[in-house]
Amino acid sequence: MVDLTTNYLGLKFANPLCASSSPLTNKLETALKLEEAGVAALVMPSLFEEQVIHEALRLDRDYMRGSESYAEALTYLPELGQYSIGPDKYLENLAKIKKNLSIPVLGSLNGVSTGGWVDYARRIEEAGADALELNLYEVSTDPEMTCQELEDRHVALVEAVRARVSIPLAVKLSPFYTALPNFACRLTEAGANGLVLFNRFYQPDIDLEMLEVVPHLVLSNSHELRLPLRWIAILRGRVAADFGLTGGVHSAEDLLKAVMAGASVTLVASELLMHGFGRVSEILNDVQEWMETHEYTSIQQMKGSMSQQAVGDPSAFERANYMRVLSSY
């Protein structure tokens, strides 16, 4: 019997398959099904500070629009007793899920201001999250903003959150950092316990008929595994953090590769959205079977076994890799 347990962010997980943030992790009903299906943990969808602000301002604007203008219609909408505007609804939901599940529940936060981050992080901790995933999603469009400034700001955000919460922190990154290993080190020094690679973005598309930019979300596929696989392999051993791999894990093979590269856990969403909860046990069974066939005894044994530092040829994860691909045609 192989040991599927793994340690991530100082927590012990029953196996390396976690439910990544998705609509499935947002509701108690589906969260319970995920737990039943066998995921080791789940990550709540991100609490978007921007969204919270937007919702509040929008409600206020819509209330005020046209009000106190004409004597017969001083307002146009009734004033209801209470609104779940702001993080309260998210926090209530998190607390409810945490209360009803026995597996670890990770909160997730996407913020825009230091004040907001710190405050929301604290409230997520108070709501009972076992750990917190900070989502550093930012599309930098300002030509005046240097990469140094941007990285400094992100490090400062992590420091600020670390100073206020005691639960483990994972930082979810985008792949678009010039010097990722250096940045990753700075994040761990700032207090990150783990790094999640990589964030997937809503990529805008163009509607040719309407000549409009339209939001577009495509679920991942196994090909996307390569990018985080490479970077976890590179960072493993160089950065004092646990790694979570997200994006492109659809099968036992994908999961095994992730662990071998150095990931403590894989975070799966698209596969479950496409093919249902049953895939959890199928993947875990396949992992177990593969490990048994190949005489691995534990995930721990396998973890990082094919990281850049562990493989015989470190250049395999560097530029030479690209050249070999080209020359193979």
């Binding site: 919702e55 409600l59 046209g66 106190e68 004409y70 004597a71 146009y76 909408l77 009734p78 209801l80």
Partner: protein
């Protein structure tokens, strides 16, 4: 016992009591009473209990008649029941009021007294409605102030249970219902102590029950009806004493003593005014002021008007009285005197023992919230000193026709010097009123001061001016009239100075606070000369702040309310500065806290950044500006517009004499063109290089401010320098030029035109054929272009088909520049109607938004073309519009029939061929109509010289020989609810009328109450928990007749289908019903996205497009054509763009999700049904043209 002091308006003060003492509340929206129903609905939604710990059942009915019926039924079944209403709504309740009173049923109707529609509708306050019920047998109990409304509500509920006489408790619409005042709140123990449960149980015991069956509502005959009617006498005789006992009990408990008639003034008064309502407070304050100066004057304030107690009245009359002036706030044309006057005359003549009896005169005041001031009260007292005082006089107006009005000195003022008076000019929706309400609460509740706020709005719905009148001081404020001498005047909108005398309220030495983009060093030169002179003459202290800059920096957008509020507190020193700021923040938290932390924080930031930007301006000694205040209308406007409407536009309507007004409420059309409001900072600008001349921008423009023309190239010769043009792309108009023009002073900046524009720059898709640009730099230039554009000839309607969107927009709109909301979803349909058929339509318009932006004075958007033709428009009531329109049709039909008959009779004189042509004319096309008009002109010529009664008759009817269309227009509140019975009957009649329902899915005009059109899952007032039942399918009901043309349209989803529906409805010789999706400010989103929402509404299937044309049946075709595709997006994708849906998600997610699921099922079910109907096989031989006989 210390009771809480609260600062609320009269509606809330009343509703607080009514709610606590009711089990069933039946409501229907009508201004100014809607607030009471809204409070009740919200409190019930929040599960607030009544006195007995149970949540009252609140139900919205389809009309006030329905509400009264439901009240009657609930009372008959033993429930404590109430309702709230006003004006026409109260009239609709009258039949039930007779029944309720005849059956001695305790209830209280709370009424905000309001004018009745006569020569014109008015939403404002007087007693016309209340006195119309004086025959019903209801007790009529008047409150004069916000505190009294709170107190009398309780006294009424107590007295009705004790007396079994039903009560109508009333207070003045707006003046009391909307005045915010500091009052002492009655607590639950007070209410408990006033209401005896055995009386409640006795009422319940009289309720109908099969366990103890009785029968009520019998039909009675000549033998006994009379006697039975007299049985109630003892109850009415006892009622006044019971009311007084309730008042005494109240006084013992609370300490405020009331009487049926309260006397105030000199104990030895010789001249006494008798009056009820808010005017009584004005009269009382004035009488006391004059009495203190030795004048022998006094006032009798009437609380219980009916049952009228002669005994109690005489007790209140000082024995020294020589003359009584009875003031009525209503008008009964043709009467021997108004109602209160007549009762007083009767009381004195029957009961007064003094010899000689006091002399009595009667007068009218304050109709439609006309100001009633201490100066007018003094005028009445002075009139009583005349040797031959006028009787049946009017005070407050200049009646130069029948010379009935009395004089007064408008400068007379009794306000206490220690009362601080402040006036604030704001732009509608900029938050000024809300902030002032908060200021009043802060002052009223956080200091020992008493406080009062009253708010005046103008007649438009967009770009409106609001004026807030705030008083506070150490003594209770009983001044139910506007401030005319203020120590503090704030103008929150710089552009007002261009057209309004904002400093007319400023007293000498007052403070003037101006929101100005110009700093303290530049602002002086930007002021109109008149403003500069006022500042100098009145020695004003002048402060400026660029509130927009502060608002922008702190993320407040255009909301400057808390910034200006902070300035007010800082300058006025009502409170120590730090305390004031803390209280402002506290108020912000209370007001906005529910909407999220960020809203509160941004307001806090705005407050914190204000004072550093507030500066006092050093006022120069001389006025130096070259700018002068603009005239309200241009010099070239017609005389009536200049002398009458222009005065109203300038805010001087109060000074117009009776002779200035039309005697029968008839006004000229086409007058909005003279009222240049200049209310937007951005307007669309045309880029000819991209334009494809599709006309969509003009099609969707709610205000007809963007228009297109084709014209001969020769006109370019006289065009202004900045005139743009391009070659016209019309096969009908070769070698012509094309120009798209915008009226910068009429545009509201909604940007719907830019949103709909399909032409994008291929190298820069953000640039379209029209784009919004700042208005001020191009205002003058574009005004010149607009004037030139208007001078170009209109296109010849007979030279093109009107069946394409592109062509339709070359037609002159005869509905223009309305005061509707910016981005209104209704008005584009009306504009289109006016373009297609405007020169031959008569419109019956239901009361509602469309009657307000269509017919609210001073100006009307319905216009005339160069030939003087255009829509003829009238509004009857809310409930009767379909019948009203049918009446117009009947008249046209009858006159047409008679005219044709006369043609036959006079054919030898007129000429047989002309008669034949007139009778046989094909008027199905523009060319056909034009030809018929020529024939009619010839006919008139031939008839002109004939000395024959029949010829003269035919001459008076000749125009009816040109085809006329009758359009019956109204909103969903009318069509689905209050007017549905009539609408159904009119559709069933088979007559050729066209009904256009502007469906906003709520009662938009009264502030967004639910109608039966409100869709499932949407929140609306009166449906604060989210509408649980689906939208009524009005179209399906009409289709069931089989001979009614029905179309459901949404111009944002298909402009062509919209156009088709209008032309088909007009062409169909029978009843037509068009249900038009009208996005609305009450839906809760930026209306510039209205057209996108229309597309989504159709794509989601919540608003399927179809046309049901019975004319197809005769041709063997299925009459139903579904014009939209199968639903392709979830309803939620459409709905959750709108706050009316989203707010339920935010307040009760579970219910929101459950209702949304049902809404989705509704869509599927309806779609399947329509699809099956559209697939049905029709034989085509069983349909004959409907007969309307």
């Amino acid at each position: 016992m210390m009771r809480a002091k609260i600062t609320i308006d009269g509606n809330e003060a009343t509703a607080k009591i009514a709610y606590k003492l009711s089990e069933v509340i039946a409501i229907y929206p009508i201004t100014p009473s809607s607030g009471m129903g809204e409070f009740a609905d919200e409190w019930a939604a929040n599960k607030q209990p009544n006195l007995w710990g149970t949540v009252p059942l609140v139900i919205e009915m389809q009309s006030e008649g329905g509400a009264a019926g439901a009240v009657h039924g609930a009372l008959q079944s033993g429930a404590l029941t109430t309702t709230f209403t006003a004006s026409q709504g109260l009239l609709l309740m009258i039949p039930n009021m007779y029944k309720i009173a005849g059956e001695l049923t305790p209830t209280v109707f709370h009424v905000t007294a309001r004018s009745l529609a006569a020569q014109g509708l008015s939403i404002f306050g007087d007693h016309s409605d209340v006195v119309s019920t004086r025959g019903t047998g209801f007790a009529l109990l008047a409150s004069n102030s916000v505190q009294e409304a709170h107190d009398m509500a309780l006294i009424a509920h107590a007295a009705t249970l004790a007396s079994r006489v039903p009560f109508l408790h009333f207070f003045d619409g707006f003046r009391t219902s909307h005045e915010v005042n500091k009052i002492e709140q009655l607590d639950l123990e007070d209410i408990r102590a006033m209401v005896d449960d055995p009386l409640v149980q006795a009422h319940r015991a009289r309720g109908l029950t099969p366990d103890n069956p009785v029968l009520r509502g019998t039909a009675q005959n000549p033998d006994v009806y009379f006697q039975a009617r007299e049985t109630v006498n003892p109850y009415y005789l006892a009622c006044p004493d019971i009311v007084q006992q309730s008042m005494d009990r109240f006084a013992a408990l609370i300490g405020r003593a009331y009487h049926l008639f309260d006397y105030s003034g000199a104990p030895d008064a010789e001249r006494v005014i008798v009056i009820m309502g808010s005017g009584a407070d004005t009269a009382e304050e004035t009488a006391n002021y004059l009495a203190a100066q030795g004048e022998k004057v006094g006032v009798i304030k009437v609380h219980l008007f009916r049952p009228f107690s002669v005994k109690h009245f005489l007790k209140a009359v000082p024995p020294t009285v020589k003359m009584l002036a009875v003031l009525d706030r209503c008008k009964e044309p043709g009467s021997a005197g108004e109602p209160l006057y007549q009762d007083i005359v009767t009381a004195i003549s029957e009961g007064s023992a003094t010899d000689p009896k006091p002399r009595m005169i009667g007068g009218r005041y304050g109709l439609s919230s006309k100001e009633f001031t201490p100066a007018m009260v003094k005028g009445v007292f002075d009139e009583m000193l005349q040797a031959a005082p006028k009787n049946h006089f009017a005070v407050g107006i200049n009646d130069d026709v029948t010379q009935n009005s009395i004089d007064y000195d408008p400068e007379f003022d009794i306000e206490l010097p220690e009362t601080v008076r402040c006036v604030f000019w704001g732009l509608g929706a900029d938050g000024t009123v809300g902030a002032n309400k908060n200021s009043i609460k802060i002052i009223g509740e956080e200091t020992d001061n008493f406080a009062q706020g009253y708010f005046v709005y103008d007649s438009k719905k967009s770009g409106t001016v609001t004026v807030s009148h705030l008083r506070f001081g150490p003594k209770p404020i009983k001044a139910p009239y506007l401030i005319n001498k203020a120590g503090f005047v704030a103008c929150h909108q710089f552009s007002f100075l261009e057209r309004l005398d904002v400093l007319k309220y400023a007293s000498p030495g007052a403070v003037f606070l101006l929101n100005s983009i110009y700093g303290p060093d530049e602002v002086w030169d930007q002021l109109p000369r008149e403003t500069q002179q006022s500042i100098i003459d009145k020695k004003l202290r002048f402060f400026v702040i660029d509130a927009y800059e502060v608002a922008n920096k702190t993320g407040m957008g255009g909301r400057i309310n808390t910034i200006m509020q902070t300035c007010f507190f800082a300058i006025s020193n009502v409170l120590p500065r730090d305390q004031a700021i803390a209280e402002i923040k506290h108020a912000i938290e209370k007001t906005y806290g529910k909407r999220g932390e960020v809203v509160v924080q941004r307001n806090f930031e705005a407050v914190d950044h204000t004072l550093a930007n507030l500066t006092e301006v050093k006022v120069p000694e001389k006025a130096s500006s070259s700018l002068t205040r603009r005239q309200p209308v241009p010099a070239e406007a017609p005389e009536f517009v200049k002398n009458v409407l222009g005065r109203m536009i300038a805010g001087e309507g109060d000074s117009l004499p009776v002779s200035a007004m039309p005697v029968d409420g008839t006004f000229p059309t086409g007058t909005t063109q003279w009222e240049k409001r200049n209310i937007t900072l951005e307007i669309p600008v045309w880029e000819p290089d991209l334009c494809i001349q599709c006309g969509k921008c003009c099609f969707v423009c709610p205000h007809a401010v963007i228009r297109e023309k084709v014209y001969a190239p020769a006109h370019l010769a006289g065009a202004p320098e900045s005139w743009l043009n391009m070659d016209a792309r019309w096969k009908e108009f070769p070698d012509m030029k094309y120009t798209l023009a915008v009226s910068p002073d009429d545009c509201t900046g909604c940007s719907l035109c830019v949103e709909v524009c399909p032409a994008k720059d291929k190298s820069q898709v953000g640039r379209k054929a029209i784009n919004m640009a700042p208005q001020p730099p191009i205002r003058e230039q574009q005004n010149t272009n607009w004037d030139y554009f208007l001078s170009l000839p209109e296109v010849d309607r007979t030279q093109m088909s009107l069946k394409s969107v592109k062509n339709s927009q070359l037609l002159q709109p005869l509905f223009e520049f309305s005061g509707a909301c910016a981005g209104c979803g209704e008005t584009p349909y009306l504009k289109l109607l006016s373009q297609l058929l405007g020169d031959r339509i008569v419109i019956a318009n239901a009361t509602g938004c469309s009657s307000i932006y269509g017919g609210n004075l001073p100006t009307t958007p319905w216009a005339k073309n160069a030939e003087g033709r255009g829509p003829a428009w009238s509004n009857s009531l809310f409930e009767d519009n379909a019948e009203f329109g049918l009446g117009m049709r009947l008249s046209l039909d009858k006159h047409g029939e008679y005219a044709r008959d006369l043609l036959g009779r006079l054919s030898n004189v007129i000429g047989e061929s002309l008669v034949d042509e007139l009778l046989q004319a094909d008027q199905t096309s523009e060319a056909g109509i034009a030809s018929q008009r020529e024939r009619v002109a010839l006919l008139k010529q031939r008839l002109g010289g004939l000395d024959d009664p029949q010829a003269r008759d035919l001459l008076s009817l000749a125009d009816v020989l040109v085809r006329k269309s009758v359009w019956i227009i109204g909103g969903d509140g009318w069509a689905y609810d209050i007017g549905y019975g009539g609408l159904d009957h009119v559709l069933a009649s088979g007559r050729n009328v066209n009904v256009l329902v502007l469906d906003t899915e709520v009662y938009s005009n009264t502030g967004g109450q639910a109608s039966k059109s409100t869709p499932r899952a949407a929140v609306a007032k009166f449906a604060a928990q989210g509408k649980g039942m689906p939208k009524k399918d009005l179209g399906m009901i009409a289709m069931a007749y089989g001979y009614v043309y029905v179309a459901r349209i949404a111009m944002g989803a298909s402009d062509q289908q919209t156009l088709n529906a209008f032309t088909e409805a007009d062409a169909y010789d029978g009843p037509s019903l068009i249900i038009a999706y009208s996005h609305c400010i009450a839906h809760g989103y930026d209306l510039k996205k209205g057209l996108d929402q229309q597309k989504l509404a159709v794509a989601s299937g919540i608003w399927p497009l179809y046309r049901f044309n019975p004319a197809s049946i005769a041709q063997g075709q299925n009459p139903l054509t579904i014009d939209s595709k199968e639903p392709s997006v979830p309803v939620s994708q459409y709905a959750y763009n709108e706050t009316r849906y989203r707010m339920l998600l935010q307040s009760d997610e579970q219910r929101a999700e459950a209702l949304m699921k049902l809404a989705q099922k509704d869509v599927r079910g309806r779609w399947d049904l329509y699809r099956q109907m559209a697939a049905m096989h029709y034989e085509g031989d069983n349909n004959e043209k409907p007969s309307s006989d």
